[in-house]
Subunit: 415 residues, 2 copies
């Protein structure tokens, strides 16, 4: 395979010490102002100051980065981009102050996405999902987690997971598939959610496992959705089958989802707008990544999760778009970083680590992506600016000039 040299780059990367960056370490980046990267077979074989790395190699192809900033590709660790239909009218209802329960009664909410997935052909579901995956890529995402959860029965959950698998096979993105069968209570089980949980555990999880079509399992614990006890049941069953587990935790109410994540040594707990100090401390002790979703808070006009408190308490913070047609129609990790910096008080370095290394840990792929290190994939972005702060500074506008996946240029932003 050809050996490529990326030269004249102002490289910034998180420092991977074998675990997510927490506390003050989340604010640290390595910088090579006149840096270079040697790539062979899509993998980084050398990185550093250009004079130090170039000589041992017979370079076939040199790419001049012209002094631009070079950072790892974004890892988006929490999305629902596999959906069949937008929910614009629900957005307008919410703006008018219509309560969520009334939106549900008018056929809105998650269950309307479930209905749309059930009706959609696998092909049209794929085309819709593909569109959002490619949009994410243009904003710099090179690795993405995608959840099922608009199926809510075995047939449609598997349909979603097949579509997610097809996204993995037909785009340049690395895709991590998460089974989220327990995303909402289906209407038929309204009065007996335990019976639905039994189906998730006894029927769906084994089916997903036997097809080897998802590596992670997630559940939405919230008032009116699933209880902590139900969460424990599903996630323990998932762990027994070898899934890594994560949890939609404490988004609206402090039910103790963060504590459950700590108890189960979940790979991440997500949302956490209402998580209490003591439960945050439990996450820190169990080294659970806190995956925060600021564009959801923005879109729902809620208070943001307390990122700075979590960082102070040594919880590694990751950032994600939560891209979905209800509460956060946003594919852009750049927008999320902007909100994290300007509305949550994270530093540009903390936000970058949150959007790359810590998010890679949040979905179990930090062995190959999330930082620029020898042996990891050559997934990176060129930013038209002096530093990663450009992403937040250039408000609402993409700062990316090019995206590379395994050393290949997969997007070029013509100015």
């Amino acid at each position: 395979m050809a050996i490529k040299l990326f030269k004249n780059a102002n490289i910034y990367t998180p420092i991977d010490k074998g675990s997510p960056s927490a506390g003050k370490e989340q604010n640290l980046l390595k910088n090579f102002p006149k840096g270079g990267i040697v790539v062979k077979d899509g993998v980084i074989t050398a990185i550093g100051n250009i004079d130090d790395i170039e000589k041992p190699y017979r370079i076939d192809n040199t790419i001049d980065c012209k002094g631009q900033s070079l950072i790892p590709g974004f890892v988006d660790p929490h999305t629902h981009i596999c959906f069949a239909k937008l929910r614009e009218s629900e957005f307008e209802m919410r703006l008018k102050g219509v309560p969520y329960l009334e939106i549900l009664n008018q056929g809105g909410g998650i269950l309307s996405s479930v209905e749309a997935v059930a009706k959609a052909s696998e092909e049209s579901l794929y085309q819709n999902s593909l569109k959002h995956a490619l949009s994410a890529m243009k904003f710099g995402t090179t690795t993405i987690e995608i959840k099922s959860g608009y199926g809510l029965d075995t047939e449609n959950e598997l349909k979603m997971l097949r579509v997610i698998d097809r996204i993995a096979k037909t785009t340049p993105l690395d895709v991590v598939a998460t089974f989220l069968g327990a995303h909402a209570i289906p209407l038929a089980y309204k009065d007996n959610p335990d019976a639905f949980i039994a189906i998730v555990v006894d029927e769906m999880l084994p089916a997903v496992k036997s097809q080897n079509i998802a590596s992670h399992c997630d559940i939405f614990c919230e008032k009116g959705v699933f209880s902590i006890e139900q969460g424990r049941k599903v996630l323990e069953a998932a762990k027994r089958l070898g899934f890594k587990v994560k949890i939609h935790a404490d988004e609206v109410n402090d039910l103790g989802g963060a504590a459950l994540a700590a108890e189960l040594c979940a790979i991440s707990a997500d949302h956490l707008l209402a998580a209490s100090d003591s439960n945050i401390e439990k996450m820190a002790r169990a080294k659970v990544v806190a995956t925060l979703l600021p564009s959801t808070a923005y879109s729902l006009r809620k208070s943001y999760a307390r990122a700075k408190v979590m960082i102070e308490k040594n919880v590694p913070v990751a950032l994600a778009t939560d891209c979905n047609p209800g509460s956060s129609y946003c594919e852009s990790m750049q927008f999320v970083i902007g909100l994290a910096v300007l509305n949550m008080g994270m530093t540009p370095a903390e936000a970058l680590v949150g959007a790359t290394l810590n998010s890679a840990y949040a979905i179990g792929v930090a062995d190959r992506v999330g930082s620029l290190d020898v042996g990891k994939q050559a997934d990176f972005i060129l930013i038209d600016g002096e530093s990663p702060a450009m992403v937040a500074y250039h408000a609402g506008v993409s700062s990316i000039s090019a995206v590379f996946k395994r050393g290949e240029n997969i997007f070029f932003n013509k100015v």
Copy 2:
């Protein structure tokens, strides 16, 4: 000239009754769900339901809008995109909590942009400005106001205005040029701002007038910048020379800029974060447009201007990016609309009227742009969604599929 038909469009447009839309009227849009527009010589000659408008014309060229939403091109009525250099490091200092005065002392702030413009060649200043103008266009702006104000002496103010004129002549955009000689107190006049004001009035304004290179005059009234009395002096002199006048008013302190705008019947007063209720009422009586700049509040992490109070008090509200390298590095009117809806509580309709018709009134061009009416220019945008709410719903991501200026496709967003 060829006659074009745009068909199968879901048209939404503000209703132009000959004055800016205020109060409840700002929330009104006209909608033709199966609409068409006939364009001749770049001007709208018919608009409405497709069956009503098509017959009288011999159409040369039909464009199928495929059911997408069609809205007027955005009019951005307040920008400083003519600048020579970004100020990323200042952004990072501000995030760290460094006070603005210390940033000034370290060579930041407006005066650093002044220094950069003085050093820049006219060609490089043009290239930089062009880049931002074209970026604005890709986000749907078809008419843009651009201010001078990083010159602060006659030579460099004229240099900026020549560059702005060149942007007008070399891009598809309609450009409105505003002379903002009184944007900051130059260092040499630190202790005698009145002497600088005398130069603005006696030297700069007549020079700009004689070259016929700007139609509007603006001033920055604020503590530490120019007083209301100095504002009155400059704007009255400008009015005598035939300039339309506007004012950077009450951004940080309630100095009475809004009241001065009312007193002088300014075409707009801009910023207004600190404007008092009574001064807002004066603006309503004098029919001054309030031009609000939410991406500046966002970037500076300030409270937003009170858009809903202004609308209740019958002040027509316009929206602008304030694009500049210090307090709002943002070319996207879509981002501004998103903030207006989600952070200022404006409805999607109020925000659209604010970003088109009212912003056209704010810079004196509503006779030809800002709404889709017979006799106005065929400046419009196709939105990939059911309604203009898509712009706010799709957070941080452009919803535009195509931009048309005088009926010509000037940008096509390949998905």
